[in-house]
Structures are given as structure tokens and as C-alpha cells.
């Protein structure tokens, strides 16, 4: 499955300035692994050493928080959009 990954600006120095990356995989975790393989410095920003998401980095698949849909095991479909957002304050 081909997915578009959108990164926060603070991480784009690790992707040669790219804000969006085309990536592939069957699940969100696979997509993250694919990107981590191609951008080795970016990988540790997206998941911990055990391969799990950090508590302060949230992934949204088509605007849905993946913590409600199965985390990294969430299945992706062709054309999905995966957005990465660092945790932010309340209001």
C-alpha cells in the first residue's frame, strides 16, 4: 500500500527538507519501518528502541488518532494520509 506521510517542520532537516514522503506497508508500523529504513536519522524520532510509538508523538491516519484504531497495527489502504504531530498543550 502506498501512503503519504506528513512530517512536522521540526523533522524536515532529517529528510533533506521534504515535508511529505511517499511510503509503503500494510500497517502504520510497516510504513514507519519503511521510512525509518530510508531515513536512518528519522527512525528514532518516530518510534522507540522496541519499535513502539512514543507517548509524546501522535500519529493520525486520515485524521484519526491511531491510538483509537490499533496503534502501529492499524491497517493502511492505498492513498491514505499519515500525519505525525508532536503532543501539544491544552486550552
Amino acid at each position: 500500500m502506498s501512503v503519504t506521510l506528513s512530517l512536522p517542520a521540526v523533522l524536515t532537516r532529517l529528510t533533506d527538507g521534504a515535508r511529505t514522503i511517499e511510503a509503503s506497508g500494510a500497517t502504520v508500523g510497516d510504513v514507519v519501518s519503511d521510512v525509518a529504513g530510508r531515513f536512518p536519522q528519522l527512525g528514532p524520532r518516530l518510534r522507540d528502541e522496541q519499535g513502539n510509538p512514543y507517548s509524546f508523538v501522535t500519529f493520525y491516519l486520515n485524521d484519526e488518532d491511531i491510538r483509537f484504531t490499533g496503534g502501529f497495527a492499524t491497517v493502511v489502504r492505498d492513498g491514505d494520509e499519515l500525519i505525525i504531530v508532536p503532543a501539544i498543550a491544552g486550552g
Binding site: 506528513s6 512536522p8 517542520a9 521540526v10 523533522l11 532537516r13 524520532r45 512514543y54 507517548s55 509524546f56 508523538v57 501522535t58 493520525y60 485524521d63 488518532d65 491510538r67 483509537f68 500525519i83 504531530v85 508532536p86 503532543a87 501539544i88 498543550a89 491544552g90 486550552g91
Partner: protein, 420 residues
Amino acid sequence: MTAVAVSPRVRALPLRCRNCGAETDAAPVAICAECLGPLEPRYDAARRLPTREEIASRGPSLWRYREWLPLEGDPPYSPDTGFTPLVEVPRLAPLLGVARVWVKNDAVSHPSLSFKDRVVAAAINAAAAFGLDTVGCASTGNLANAVAAQAARAGLPAWIFIPDNLEYGKVVGTSVYAPNLVRIRGTYDDVNRLCAQVADRFGWGIVNVNLRSYYGEGSKTFAFEIAEQLGWRFPTAVVAPMAGGSLVSKLGKGFREFLSAGLVEGELPRLYGAQASGCAPIVRLVERGDGQLIPEIPDTIARSIAIGSPADGAYAAESIRQSGGWAASVSDAELVRGILLLAETAGIFTETAGGVTLASALELARQGHFRPNDEVVLCITGNGLKTVEALSGSLGEAPVLAPRLRDVADLVARTSPSSR
């Protein structure tokens, strides 16, 4: 991004990551480029700190604590925010089973009647330091009011994003200042995520997104004022509402800073957190004690604190447990009774979050968390006139009489002696 000349009068402090310790220059960036952890201002440990007398001689605003705020120089905006009343409420003490109870009353905060005025005062001056000519926020209502009011006074355009189901008072209390107000179909967590993308795209000063490092420090002044207004001492316990979780951890930070500055001696207060049962991820984290916050989809009338994925939830839970405190949640019916009880005992009309705070304090008392010699401060962070819908059906109808003395006399005779 549009930028104007950086204000020569004010400078923002450099930053350090709370997770990995990486240091960066001052910038409208709240996220560590190394690990994506939250950035916090770096204060010069060798800076000169004022004495009690110097602080007491300054004006009655949060800027009397300027050495603990993340700006140097002369902040140009919002000079009058802070220093709200600390009101003792003797009638609540027996209900909580403690010696004394006070309300720290940010329901009358200047200018927008909630504690969010404090954080916006810090953030809008950080925007000035960076030369940002547009500010904004993601908000459950109170922050929207505070940003809109303070941006209007500062003459800055504002872009404000709120969920589309907020109380009428919160919407009017924003739109009256003529910001660019946008209602988003979704929860606050949806709005928050959108604003992170907006801040990235447009480079505005979104106070609780890219200015968050500076914004959060304004919350500490709530703790500073409690200590000063108690006569330079700490209460034994503080109860605060929790939404994103920032206030309770910044209360702890504020108390610790006054202790280490030698301004106050004695034991730090125990911190207690309050949430509505329909959105209580931080309370449940405190109860579990495992450090892994589980997000929730909010379902409560306490919309101002309905944040299902609180960014500072883990820090809040850690602050609470380290202080020896605890957390409790209450139903919507209980929070309404809390609003009414505070009004009837303290003469203070608070919004839903304040009802949650008092009702949770009663629940904590019932669970045995307070001691007979405790001195408790309740943090009342918002005004009841903003959420009058919450009281629909809870208040009796006032009688309508003809303008005749006889009718009034009849009514007085029918009214129970204790109410006369």
C-alpha cells in the same frame, strides 16, 4: 510567515528539552528537534532574584514575579493580568474535614475571566519578542477568550480555532473581540492536531502550540500568588482542574521555585487533580500509576477541560504522585452540585471546571485524602457566566409578584426561616 520588527523592549529566553536536555536558542518552537520532547525556557541560575519586600512593592499583576517568567526586558503587552483574590471560605472547611479552605479566584481574572489570561500574557509577549504579527490558539473556550481579548488590546490579528459545540458564552466571549474565529467539526483533540499543522504552515504565534514553552510558564504565577497571599507560606494541599495537564505540574514547579529562592519555607503542598468522569485520562493514569496515558473520547458538559489526549498528562500524574497527592473525577451531576455549592458558600460563580474542582475535592475528602489540620486551596480557573447552560433545570424559578407589599409579606411568611 509574516514578521514585523522584533520588539527591542523584550527578549525571550533560550530553551532546553525536558526529555533529552538538548539546548536551543530562543525560538517560536515548542518541540525538540532531537527527540520531539517538549522544550522549556532556560533561566539563568545566577540571575538576581527579588526579596519578599521587593515583590510586594511591585504592581498587582503577574509581572511582579517577572524573574520567574521567560522574558527579559520590558514586556509590552497585557500589563494588568494576574493577582486575583485568594478568598477564605470557612463554610467549606467542615465539608472537606480540614482546618481551613481558600479559593484562588481566577473567575475574575483580567481581562477574560479565566486563568488562561496568565498563559496568554506570557505567550503574547513572546510573540512580540519574535516579531510575530499574528497570534492564535486551539481552544476549548477560555483560551479563545484570552487570546482574542489580549490580541485585540495589542492590536494583533488573531486566528482562533474551537470545537463547534462550545457554550454560547464562550463563543460570544471570543467573537466580540473580532478575531478570525473558526469552528471545527470535531473534538478539542481534533482542533489541537489541526492547529499543530496550521502553526507549521503559516508560522503564526499559536500560543499553545509553537509558543507553548513560554505560554506554560504563565501558569506558575497561580502558585506564586497563592504563596504570597497566604503570607509567604504554602498551603498543605492544592486542588486543581486538569485538562491538558499543564496547570498542576506548573503549580508544582512554581512552589518549588519559591522554596529554592528562599522566599517560602516548609513542606511543599500536596497536589490534587480533578477531572470530569466523562474525560478523566489523567485521573485514571494517577490511579493506575503505570506512566502510560490512555487517551479517551470526551463525553462531559465540562467542555473547558474535555481533552481526551492531554499533552502534559504524564507530567501532571508524575507531579501529583511525587507530591503525595492524588486525583479524583466526578459525574456531570456532581459537578453541577459543585458549582451550586461554591456559589452558596463562597459567593463565587464558577464554570463547569470549577464545579469539577470542588466536587472532586469533596470526593477526595470522602476517600480520606485530607487531614484535619490541612489548609486547602481550591483553584477556581473560570467564570460561571460563560457556561450558564450547565445550570439549566438546576435553579428554581424566581416568583413573579404584583407590586404590592401584601404579596411580598405573604411570600416572606411562606419562606422558610433559614432562608429569610
